[in-house]
C-alpha cells in the first residue's frame, strides 16, 4: 500500500568510527583484495554476489532482499579531496560540507531550516540519541534529541505520577505567557512552553503505534523502532538521525565487524518491513554513511584509519544499483595506502536534497555538485 499525501522524509544512519568499506562491499574478484587482506578478509565463498565483481559482506544478508528488489543504491568510492583520517575532523567535514575550513552549520540543520522556513514545527528534525550531531546544528533551528521516546520530556526523573503532574502544571504556568518586557524572560517562557508542547506530542507517538514487526533488542533497532513510531504518528518530522558504532576496528575486526553489520542490517530490514506495513516505504529514504573507510592493507587483526568509503541509499523510491566507480586496488592508484575516492559525498547529499526533499542543494552543500541517478 502506498500513501499519497505524506511528505517525504530522510533517515540518516551514521556508522560511527569508520566503516571498513572494503569488507562491506567486497571486490572478491580482485586478487589484490586477498593480497592486502591476508588476515582480515572475507573468503569469496561467503560473499553475497551483486554483479560478478563485488558483493556484500555476508552479515548484510538481512538487507540482501532489498537489493534484489532494486531498493538499494550502493555508492562506492565516496569521499572528499584531501581526506582527513581523524574521526572528529572527518565527521565534521561530512556534517558541515566544508572540507577546507571549519564549517559553521550542519547540512541537515540547514535542510530543516529550509523545510520549515517559518519555524512552525519544533519536530521537523529529531535525533535519536543523546546530544546533537553537528550535522543537525544550525543557528536558530530547534531540533529535539530523544534518548528514549517513552520517557522523553520534562522532569522524567520524578517517579511519582501525581508529583510529576503537579510539577509539569507548575512548569507550564511559570513558563506561560508573560507580560514582562524582560527579553530573557520572554525567550525562556516561549521556549519552555514550546518544549512542553513538543514533548507531549513526541511522547504520544508510542501510544498511537502498533506493528507486527518485532525489533531486536539492540540500540540501533530500538532507535529505528522509535523513528517508525514518530513517523506513524504523523508529527510532521522530515529528518531523522541516529548513530551506531563503533566501527573503529583497529583490532579484532572480523568478529566485531560481523556483529556490527548484523545489528545494523537486521535493524534496517525490520524497519523497512515496518514502513511497508504502515504504508511509508515509498516516502522514506535511508542514507547510511561513515566518516571514512579503512586502510587497504590490514594490520594483522584489524585495519587502521583510511579514506574512500561506501554509502547506501535505501528506500522504495530509490533506483537500486551500483553507483560511483569502485576505487582501484592497484598500489600505484592508492592515496597514501588508502582507497582513492571517486565521487564527492556532496553529490549524494545534493541528489537527496534536490530530488527527494526538493530543496536547493547549492547553498547547503556549498557548491554545485553533479547529482546521481539513484533518484
Amino acid at each position: 500500500m502506498t500513501s499519497t499525501n505524506r511528505e517525504k522524509s530522510v533517515v540518516v544512519i551514521e556508522l560511527q568510527g569508520g566503516n571498513d568499506a572494503l569488507n562491506t562491499v567486497i571486490p572478491y574478484n580482485n586478487p589484490l583484495y586477498y593480497d592486502f587482506r591476508n588476515n582480515v578478509g572475507i573468503p569469496e565463498g561467503e560473499v553475497l554476489h551483486l554483479d560478478g565483481e563485488v558483493g556484500f559482506n555476508p552479515n548484510l544478508t538481512p538487507i540482501k532482499p532489498l537489493w534484489d528488489q532494486g531498493n538499494i543504491a550502493v555508492i562506492n568510492g565516496i569521499g572528499y579531496p584531501n581526506p582527513n583520517r581523524s574521526h572528529f575532523r572527518s565527521r565534521d567535514v561530512w556534517y558541515t560540507c566544508e572540507s577546507e575550513k571549519i564549517g559553521a552549520e550542519g547540512w541537515l540543520g540547514a535542510a530543516i531550516r529550509d523545510l520549515d522556513a517559518r519555524g512552525e514545527n519544533v519536530l521537523t528534525g529529531v535525533n535519536f540519541g543523546r546530544g546533537l550531531p553537528r550535522a543537525m546544528v544550525c543557528k536558530g533551528v530547534p531540533v529535539a534529541s530523544v534518548a528514549n521516546l517513552e520517557t522523553y520530556g520534562l522532569m522524567p526523573d520524578i517517579q511519582d505520577e501525581k508529583s510529576r503532574q503537579y510539577a509539569l502544571e507548575a512548569f507550564s504556568r511559570i513558563y506561560g505567557p508573560t507580560e514582562t518586557k524582560d527579553i530573557v524572560a520572554q525567550v525562556l517562557s516561549e521556549t519552555g512552553s514550546n518544549a512542553l508542547k513538543g514533548a507531549d506530542r513526541l511522547r504520544s507517538a508510542p501510544g498511537l503505534y502498533s506493528s507486527s514487526v518485532e525489533y531486536a533488542d539492540t540500540p540501533i533497532s530500538q532507535s529505528l523502532r522509535n523513528m517508525a513510531q514518530v513517523m506513524s504518528a504523523g508529527l510532521g518530522t522530515r529528518i531523522y538521525y541516529t548513530m551506531h558504532g563503533s566501527f573503529d576496528t583497529h583490532s579484532n575486526e572480523l568478529p566485531a565487524h560481523a556483529k556490527l553489520w548484523t545489528d545494523v542490517s537486521t535493524a534496517i530490514a525490520d524497519f523497512t518491513s515496518d514502513l511497508e506495513e504502515h504504508g511509508l516505504a515509498d516516502d522514506t529514504l535511508i542514507l547510511v554513511f561513515s566518516e571514512f573507510g579503512r586502510r587497504i592493507k590490514d594490520n594483522g587483526t584489524g585495519t587502521d584509519h583510511g579514506s574512500g568509503g561506501a554509502a547506501f541509499v535505501i528506500g522504495g523510491g530509490v533506483n537500486g544499483g551500483l553507483y560511483g566507480e569502485y576505487p582501484s586496488l592497484r598500489p600505484e592508484d592508492h592515496s597514501e595506502g588508502d582507497l582513492h575516492f571517486t565521487n564527492d559525498f556532496r553529490s549524494t547529499y545534493a541528489t537527496i536534497l534536490n530530488r527527494w526533499l526538493e530543496l536547493d542543494p547549492v547553498p547547503i552543500v556549498h557548491g554545485d555538485y553533479e547529482q546521481f541517478g539513484f533518484l
Partner: protein, 470 residues
C-alpha cells in the same frame, strides 16, 4: 528572606564564579563585599580536587586520548576550586581565543592552552597574547605552522587583530600582512610528525605526545616591517607590544569583559556599528587597562567594585552558559567530594545543552545570551538542574534539606523562601514565587514534616527561569 547584602554577594558569585552555597555567601557577607572581591582576585590559596586524585582514578583525565578528557578535567576544577574566578576568567578567554578539537585533535594540547589561561589570564594582557601566539594548539588551529618566511599564511596574523585584540576597522590589510610576517617561524616542534598524527588521529603506538612551541630562526622573516604606523624589524613580541598600546585594543577587551561579566553585548560583528550599552563602563575599564599597564586583574577589580556591576538592573540579565549551569549545580550538590565516575555524565550534560568545552562552534566562540536557549537545550537544562537538586542523597542537597527542615517553615510561603535562599539567595519574580507557593501547598502530605516535600520544592526551584539565569 535574604537581605540585599546577601543577594549582592550572590550576584557577584554567579558572575565572578559559578554561584555559591548559602553558607559560603554568609561567610562572604561577613567579610564584606570589597574583601570578597579581593579574595576572588587572590589566587594564592587555592584548594580543590587535586590533580593526583583525578589522575589516579581517571587515567583518561591524565592521558587525554579522547575528546572529553580535557573538558571533564576542567569541570572538576570549576566544581571544586576555592578560586572560581580563575576558572571563570579561563572560560572567558576560551570563549574569545576559541580553539577547538576538530582541527587540533589533541586533548592535552587544548587542556594545556586552558592551563595557560589559568596562569596568564589574570596578569598582563601583553604576556597573555605572547603566550597565546606560542601556544601549540593555537598554532595548529590557525595554521601558523604553515606561515613561512617565503610563503606567508596570514590566518593567525589576521585573527590576532580581528578576533583577539582590536576588532575590524582599526587596521589595514597591510597591517595584517606585516603582522603575519612577524610570526613566521613560530611553529611546533617535530611539526611534520605531529601534524601527521593529528591528521590521522593517531595515538599509536604509545598514546599522545604533548606538543611544544619552537621558534625556527631560519624560517623567520627578520626584515623591516611597517605595522600600525611604526617601523622596525619586528618579531611577534614587538607586534604584541604595539597592539597593546592601541586604544582600540583596550576598548575591544573591555567590551568583551563587560559582555561576559556584566550584561550581554550584541555579537562581536555588530560592534563597529553599535555603541556599547554603557559607554561610561567601557571608559572606566579602558582607564584601568592603561593605568595598570594592561593588567587584567586591575580591570576586573575595577569592574566588580563598580556601580554598574552592582546595579540591580543587571542582576539576572545573563543566561548561564551550559558549563556555568552545570558547574554551579555541582557546587551546590557537593557531589564530587572525591573522584567519581559520574563526572563523565555531568560533563556530557553541558554538551547536550549545547556547550562542548574545547569544541566551540567556530573561531568566534559561542553565541551567548538567549542563543543558549532552544527547545532541545532548555529541556536538558531543566531536567539536569531539577534532577540534581531534587536528589537529597547528594551531600550538598541533603545538607540544604536538613537546614530547611530545621527552620520553622510551616507555611508554603516560608518553605519556598527557604528553598530560594538555600540555592544561593536567588530572587524570583512575583509570578514565579506564587506558582512555587501553589506547588508547595499541593505536594507532599500536609503533615509531612519529612524531607521529600522539601526536595520536591528544591527541584521545582531549579526548574524556574530565574535559576537558568546569572
Amino acid at each position: 528572606m535574604a537581605n540585599r547584602d546577601v543577594e549582592l554577594i550572590g550576584h557577584l558569585m554567579r558572575r565572578a564564579g559559578f554561584g555559591a552555597t548559602r553558607e559560603q555567601l554568609g561567610a562572604y557577607v561577613a567579610q564584606g563585599y570589597e574583601a570578597t572581591v579581593e579574595s576572588l582576585l587572590d589566587q594564592t590559596a587555592e584548594q580543590r580536587m587535586g590533580d593526583d586524585l583525578i589522575r589516579r582514578f581517571h587515567p583518561e583525565l591524565s592521558g587525554m586520548m579522547g575528546t572529553l578528557g580535557s573538558g571533564e578535567n576542567w569541570l572538576y576544577r570549576m566544581a571544586t576550586t576555592t578560586t572560581p574566578l580563575r576558572e571563570k576568567v579561563a572560560l572567558f578567554w576560551h570563549g574569545i581565543f576559541a580553539t577547538g578539537y576538530p582541527k587540533v585533535i589533541h586533548g592535552k594540547a587544548l587542556s594545556d592552552q586552558v592551563r595557560m589561561f589559568r596562569h596568564k589570564g589574570m596578569a598582563s594582557f601583553r604576556d597573555l597574547l605572547v603566550e597565546l601566539s606560542q601556544d601549540p594548539a593555537m598554532i595548529i588551529w590557525l595554521d601558523n605552522q604553515d606561515n613561512h618566511k617565503d610563503a606567508v599564511n596570514e590566518n593567525f596574523g589576521r585573527e590576532l587583530l580581528e578576533l583577539f585584540s582590536m576588532g575590524v576597522g582599526n587596521y589595514t590589510e597591510q597591517d595584517v600582512q606585516e603582522c603575519a610576517r612577524a610570526f613566521t617561524g613560530w611553529t611546533l616542534g617535530n611539526r611534520e610528525y605531529m601534524e601527521l598524527r593529528s591528521m590521522r588521529d593517531s595515538d599509536w603506538p604509545y598514546g599522545r605526545i604533548a606538543w611544544h612551541f619552537e621558534f625556527q630562526e631560519d624560517d623567520h622573516d627578520f626584515g623591516e616591517k611597517e605595522f600600525l604606523g611604526q617601523r622596525g624589524p619586528f618579531n611577534g613580541d614587538d607586534i604584541v607590544d604595539i597592539i597593546c598600546q592601541q586604544e582600540a585594543t583596550a576598548r575591544f577587551i573591555s567590551r568583551h569583559m563587560y559582555s561576559f561579566f556584566v550584561a550581554d553585548e550584541p555579537p562581536v560583528p555588530e560592534w563597529p556599528y553599535t555603541e556599547p550599552q554603557d559607554p561610561a563602563a567601557i571608559d572606566l575599564l579602558v582607564q584601568a587597562y592603561f593605568d595598570s599597564g594592561y593588567d587584567i586583574t586591575a580591570m576586573l577589580r575595577a569592574l566588580f567594585n563598580s556601580d554598574f556591576f552592582k546595579d540591580e538592573a543587571v542582576w539576572y540579565r545573563k543566561v548561564k552558559s551550559p558549563v556555568e549551569l552545570v558547574a554551579g549545580v555541582l557546587r551546590l550538590t557537593g557531589e564530587f567530594d572525591r573522584p567519581r565516575k559520574e563526572i563523565l555524565d555531568r560533563y556530557q550534560q553541558s554538551i547536550f545543552m549545547g556547550q562542548f568545552l574545547n569544541n566551540p562552534p567556530s573561531v568566534e566562540g559561542w553565541h551567548q545570551g538567549t542563543d543558549w536557549i532552544d527547545t532541545g537545550s532548555l529541556v536538558e537544562r531543566i531536567n539536569f538542574a531539577s534532577q540534581q537538586l531534587g536528589d537529597a542523597t547528594k551531600p550538598g542537597v541533603g545538607a540544604m534539606v536538613e537546614r530547611i527542615a530545621h527552620t520553622p517553615s510551616v507555611s508554603p510561603e516560608m518553605l519556598v523562601d527557604a528553598c530560594l535562599d538555600q540555592v544561593g539567595a536567588i530572587q524570583v519574580s512575583e509570578d514565579t514565587r506564587r506558582e512555587l507557593v501553589d506547588f508547595a501547598s499541593v505536594v507532599g502530605s500536609p503533615d509531612d514534616a519529612g524531607h521529600g516535600r522539601i526536595a520536591e520544592v528544591l527541584q521545582m526551584v531549579a526548574s524556574t527561569h530565574e535559576f537558568q539565569r546569572a
